[in-house]
């Protein structure tokens, strides 16, 4: 055994300061980058910037196109870096939460509260041997991580962060999201098949069957907010909702609540999250389609899996939970703050953008946290149960919600007040349920003789 105690180079206080500095600087830089760049790469903004700050006429200046492309490339890089960093931070959060839920210690070595662990892991994986099994299909085995990575990266094009904060507000927004996330399963299937390992093959086939099945209820459930908003654009769907809970799609239409639950469950299944982690089921399939992957190729799969949690949560927030809408700020206020369209916007507009980003990020983090809770609360289901749940429950209910929304929209055209009325009732019901849940949890904690301890973090 060690004769002398391990030497610690930093005092606990210094570790805390370093961790906080890394966290704040990293996320501060990324969010500032997203805030400024996603707003600034719009052609109107670039033209205004060139005219007012650089002092050239954008129409005749020879480098306008170059500036546009370079700023777009930087934005893409920042968005991807954000994806990677949020993926790492999610892993950290998940490990800390799971440790608390299972009365373990969890990450606590690298940085305060183990926050720097994901950076250490990423660096470690860079220095690991990258194995390709001898009998594997070399080409497919190498190509699979690229499919997974691009499928993940492409979602950030249409993912909104705030009112004007989206790389490209595509008019087919949500349809595009569904299309590019499907690329991930192609990568998973390729990984499973090409490994030439039985575990990997089973994992890949299960993933294909699962993701492909749950795409159906998810696709039909998406139709409900699309019908209510009358557009596929992510920003358009958010603009059709209000800032207060009773103005969110999830509460203004009873069928939308059902659609929300169906979409949430389908997203869990498509992201291979517990209780739908059959493709990776570590107690039966070793690591499923990932079994033969090592080194950084493995890291890319891992990054996408956890980064997708953010995408999932942000899409849910967009479709059903009012997105970035700020209370008391109407569409007219946004236009007023923006000023003349040819000019650069003032500080007020940037402040509003920052606020909208804050709202969006907070809501997304809350949803993300629920996804993490679910993973550590529910056991894995069997493959026949997984199939039954999808085809015998979710698909019929999704169809029912869709048809109900059709009629609901007709009804709303006659009685517009119905949406507000339903919104209040549903919000009230939700608050009552949340209160009951909280009371039950409190009673359970008291009954077991335990107490809530937030100091031991």
């Amino acid at each position: 055994m060690l004769s002398s105690p391990q030497r610690k180079p930093f005092s606990p206080r210094a570790v805390l300061v370093i961790t906080l500095a890394v966290g704040v600087l990293l996320f501060g830089a990324l969010f500032t980058g997203i805030l400024v760049l996603t707003a600034a790469i719009k052609p109107v903004m670039i033209a205004a910037f060139l005219r007012q700050v650089v002092g050239v006429d954008p129409a005749t200046w020879p480098h306008t196109t170059l500036v546009t492309w370079v700023s777009m490339a930087i934005t893409a890089l920042i968005l991807l870096t954000f994806g990677a960093v949020i993926s790492g931070a999610t892993v950290w959060w998940e490990m800390r939460v799971s440790a608390r839920m299972q009365s373990r210690i969890g990450y606590n070595r690298a940085g305060a509260g183990g926050f720097l662990q994901w950076i250490a892991d990423a660096v470690k994986l860079l220095f690991k041997e990258d194995l390709i099994p001898a009998e594997a299909d070399q080409l497919l085995f190498r190509v699979a991580p690229y499919f997974v990575m691009t499928g993940f990266a492409l979602t950030f094009v249409a993912l909104p962060f705030g009112e004007g904060l989206v790389a490209a507000d595509l008019n087919v927004g949500i349809f595009y999201m569904v299309a590019v996330t499907a690329l991930v399963v192609v990568g998973i299937l390729l990984a499973g098949w090409s490994s030439n390992s039985k575990w990997a093959l089973f994992g890949g086939m299960r993933a294909a069957a699962q993701v492909v099945s749950y795409e159906i209820p998810a696709g039909i459930a998406i139709m409900v907010p699309v019908l209510m908003a009358g557009t596929l654009s992510m920003q358009g769907i958010i603009r059709a909702q209000g800032a207060w809970p009773w103005q969110w799609f999830v509460f203004t239409n009873p069928a939308a609540t059902v659609a929300f639950l169906i979409f949430f469950i389908s997203q869990l299944a498509e992201g291979n999250r517990t209780p739908f982690d059959l493709p990776e089921a570590d107690s039966e399939l070793v690591a499923g389609y990932l079994s033969e992957y090592s080194g950084f190729r493995f890291a890319l799969f891992f990054l996408v899996e956890f980064g997708n949690l953010w995408v999932m949560a942000a899409v849910l927030t967009t479709l059903f939970l009012g997105g970035w809408q700020i209370p008391w700020v109407s569409a007219a206020d946004w236009t007023a703050a923006r000023g003349a369209l040819g000019d650069l916007p003032g500080a007020g507009w940037w402040g509003l953008q920052l606020l909208s980003m804050l709202v969006m990020v907070l809501k997304t983090l809350v949803v993300l946290n629920v996804i993490v809770w679910i993973r550590w609360t529910l056991p894995r289901i069997r493959i026949d149960q997984m199939m039954n749940l999808c085809w015998k429950y979710l698909v019929p209910f999704a169809f029912a919600a869709f048809v109900f929304t059709l009629l609901w929209q007709v009804l709303l055209a006659r009685v517009p007040l119905l949406a507000t009325f339903t919104g209040f009732i549903m919000t009230g019901l939700f608050v009552a349920m949340a209160a009951l849940f909280g009371r039950q949890v409190k009673a359970n904690i008291a009954a077991s003789g335990d107490h809530v301890d937030l100091t031991n973090w």
């Binding site: 033209a47 492309w69 777009m72 490339a73 893409a76 890089l77 991807l80 860079l126 220095f127 990258d130 194995l131 390709i132 099994p133 001898a134 009998e135 991580p145 690229y146 990575m149 691009t150 990266a153 492409l154 950030f156 094009v157 790389a167 490209a168 507000d169 595509l170 595009y176 030439n196 390992s197 039985k198 575990w199 093959l201 086939m205 294909a208 492909v212 099945s213 159906i216 699309v226 009358g230 557009t231 596929l232 079994s291 080194g295 950084f296 190729r297 890291a299 890319l300 199939m387 039954n388 085809w391 015998k392 698909v395 019929p396 169809f399 869709f402 048809v403 929209q409 007709v410 055209a413």
Partner: protein
Amino acid sequence: MPLTPLQTYFPIGLVLLVGSGLALVLLLLANVLGPRRPNAAKMSPFECGSVPVGSARDRFGVKFYVVALLFIVFDIEAVFLFPWAVLSTELGWAGYVEMLIFVATLVVGLAYVWKKGVLDWAE
């Protein structure tokens, strides 16, 4: 200068390049930094430590293919629903009735598949 419809899709191509470029750079970096000491045991597929029995390129349960077929039918249906959902208010009653008939056809299809036992995975 407003964007032409095609130009709004340029960022997608750019992100495709940047995304795969990032993956490529990271994998190359790992290639350079990581060790390379292969041996026969390391390069064989993992089968819980024992010598692999047979090949993994084997026949597979037909259930998976049936699910894939079902997926194609219902996913194409979803593709039809998307453009309709955007225009539903303009299409009016005729549009509603048509969509109800379309959805009803699919529900009948689902009921048929259900009755045939395709959805019973356990058998």
